[in-house]
Symmetry: C2
Subunit: 429 residues, 2 copies
């Protein structure tokens, strides 16, 4: 399918300037970005008049557990440990692969309605996450989530699973890929972490994990190993081919220096960190030091939405509180993190900007809404005043998956009904 | 016009329970709230099938400067003093009454699209704010905003204006009322504050003002008067008939005790306080002590949206960070603040809950969206996952002012055009 988007404003994210222009797509690929004057003539299947609205790269969610939408608002306003051990874990124990499939599809609807077209998804039953992603038409980067104790069975299971998934999910469906990763230092014995580092070397691949989300996690790692999780992973050679840390709230200067030197991505999750009282990540300092930054929502059990507008707002404004400086963490830096940084963090180097040859993963931002008026500064409007009502259209891999409040490729009512039925059955199991 | 809303869920805010039921209205008043079985038969001009969605009291914005939408995203990411003195004040100096009219109307669109039907508005040219409110159909409570130095001219001007406005704006159009108020201690000489206290006694009225928004403001008041702004106002007898403080970020135990004893409302503005790096108000402590709580957006120059969903999210989650406790400030308390507390704080005692005889100020929350699924807990969904896409309909004084993304009573495109033209002329003046 060939499409033309014209009569609009374009933010390519190659820079953060906004210009008049048009965009052509063919299949899942962008074929032209530029002025209307120089645009090549072609026959299109659909020509979309943007009516002065803005088209830009879609949001990419660089850390999530999509299927956890099933726990949205199931348990909130609780201390973290009670929430995790009394509510989340017992419910997760009862999950079936089919549950993960339908809940991941429900999450895809939420992503599309918020202009997000890719997620870095860490959860159980990756085959079913991948299938839901392909069926829904969302780009899914699976993240390894192994863990385990000090015994051969755990070690063998973790390493063999990672290697199996790595080979199985890469090079297949273009919407699916897999990155080597593990749950966290505090759930994974050091012997397994060493095995993961070896695997990363074997395939020359980056390694991803939850890192320094809570003060307790860092304190206990230092008690166990005499160093922070980041310093430990660096020592094990886990970052020799890059990688990423999710959360990165309680970071030392040395941790930041390691991330900078290795080009490891710090993926911030401000809403989740706020709601679970984990803290505010030192993004201003990381940015000054040159640590590459990306944004994710975390799962809907702790957020409770998969909404990149809210993440962007908090990624900036919480820094202002943290640094006691209203000029901290400007809007354009945050928007760049959400569309470009997040894509690169999860290895989607062809989904980062709008340019010929890149994937057609795009969002049309409605500027004809009260919260976008007047039009002093569109980037600041998006970050500081924007919300999901400003998503007029979402294009995922060249397919329009959301338009004016509707999902043209998915039966939303059916997904809601199936997800609610699955939740009910799960609770009663 | 008589309307019937049926086949839905109802949250009256008399308690925070959700029940099946229906609602009837006649003109600007609710005539029935209850089960479908006992509903009186009547002839309606419109019957609205809620299709299982939720109807509840609309949001009330208990502190704002509506017309400041003209400065949205005009200057951000700046230190507070530069922002105020180099950007905001010079622009405000150029405002005309007609500017305030059109900008206030633009803000009304934003309120309606977010389910808000009343605002406690403190700004220049109150006649024009009131006219815009009446023309747009939004309930406007004007808040006095006088200030001035140690001289007779300032004193006479401030006190005579307050008395004139008090008598002019109360008892007229049912959508408009006026409360005695002043800008802030730091802009108002104590002689004027004494005069305001006398006026409050004369009319037996509450007094409202910006209070303890920044640490600097409190520190300087203590230097000037040996006490906090709250203690000073209490000493002057300003709270003998109640009142309210906007922001209330830097509050002492004694300040809270005064507010509790006098039934003075603490109106929190979490987004503005975060974005301007003012701090996080001690809401948990205030609530424990029994201080009455309400929520407002502040102006769009510092927020940058007039969005009560975002305020609610931050009103809860920032407390979790502040108190290092994920159980702090539960969702139902925050929702109650936004719909009921805010109404009572601004004197709208007939707009607080859904009941026969109360004003028909209501919002229909769309539950058929991905972010509201599954339906474990609707109140938590609204506070922790909700956003403006969930506003299906807004009813202000018995009139449908927003429905499925459209403004049936207002020409939004015309207001956008007029507002942008006014901004352009203002910048060029």
């Amino acid at each position: 399918m060939k499409m033309r988007f014209y009569n609009g404003l374009v933010l390519t994210a190659e820079d953060m300037e906004i210009r008049s222009g048009e965009i052509h797509t063919d299949g899942d690929t962008i074929t032209y970005v530029g002025g209307e004057k120089n645009a090549p003539a072609a026959k299109f299947d659909r020509e979309i008049n943007l009516q002065g609205n803005l088209i830009m790269p879609s949001f990419k969610n660089a850390h999530t557990h999509s299927a956890m939408v099933f726990l949205r608002s199931y348990a909130d306003d609780m201390p973290l440990q009670d929430w995790l051990f009394k509510q989340v874990f017992p419910m997760e124990d009862k999950l079936t692969p089919d549950d993960v499939y339908i809940f991941t599809k429900l999450a895809a609807l939420e992503y599309f309605s918020g202009g997000t077209t890719a997620c870095f998804d860490m959860y159980f039953y990756p085959e079913y996450i991948a299938k839901a992603g392909v069926d829904a038409g969302i780009r899914t980067v699976l993240c390894g989530s192994v863990s385990g104790g000090d015994n051969k069975a755990d070690y063998d299971s973790a390493i063999s699973r990672l290697e199996e998934y790595y080979n199985k999910f890469n090079g297949g469906d273009p919407l699916v890929s897999f990155k080597i990763g593990f749950h966290a230092e505090y759930t994974t014995h050091i012997s397994i972490m060493k095995g993961i580092a070896e695997l990363a070397h074997k395939y020359k691949q980056p390694v991803y994990t939850h890192n320094s989300e809570t003060a307790k996690e860092v304190r206990e790692c230092i008690e166990r190993h005499g160093k922070t999780p980041t310093a430990l992973m660096e020592e094990l050679g886990m970052f020799d081919y890059g990688g990423g840390g999710f959360h990165c709230v309680h970071f030392t200067e040395e941790d930041m220096e390691i991330f900078r030197r290795r080009g490891v991505w710090a993926v911030t999750n401000p809403c989740s960190n706020c709601k679970l009282a984990s803290g505010i990540a030192p993004l201003v300092k990381m940015r000054e030091k040159g640590v590459p930054l990306a944004i994710g929502t975390d799962g809907a059990a702790s957020n409770n939405a998969l909404d990149m507008f809210r993440e962007m707002y908090l990624a900036s404004t919480l820094q202002k509180i943290r640094e006691d400086d209203a000029s901290a963490m400007p809007a354009d830096a945050v928007l760049e993190m959400a569309v470009k940084g997040s894509a690169l963090a999860m290895g989607l180097s062809d989904c980062d900007v709008l340019a010929a040859g890149k994937k057609a993963d795009m969002v049309v931002i409605d500027l004809n809404t009260p919260n976008m008026q007047p039009l002093h500064n569109i980037v600041k409007n998006i970050v500081f005043a924007g919300n999901k009502t400003n998503v007029k259209m979402t294009v995922s891999g060249g397919v329009i998956v959301y338009e004016d409040g509707k999902f043209p490729t998915l039966d939303a009512e059916k997904i809601y009904a199936e997800a609610n039925a699955a939740v009910k059955a799960l609770i009663e199991r």
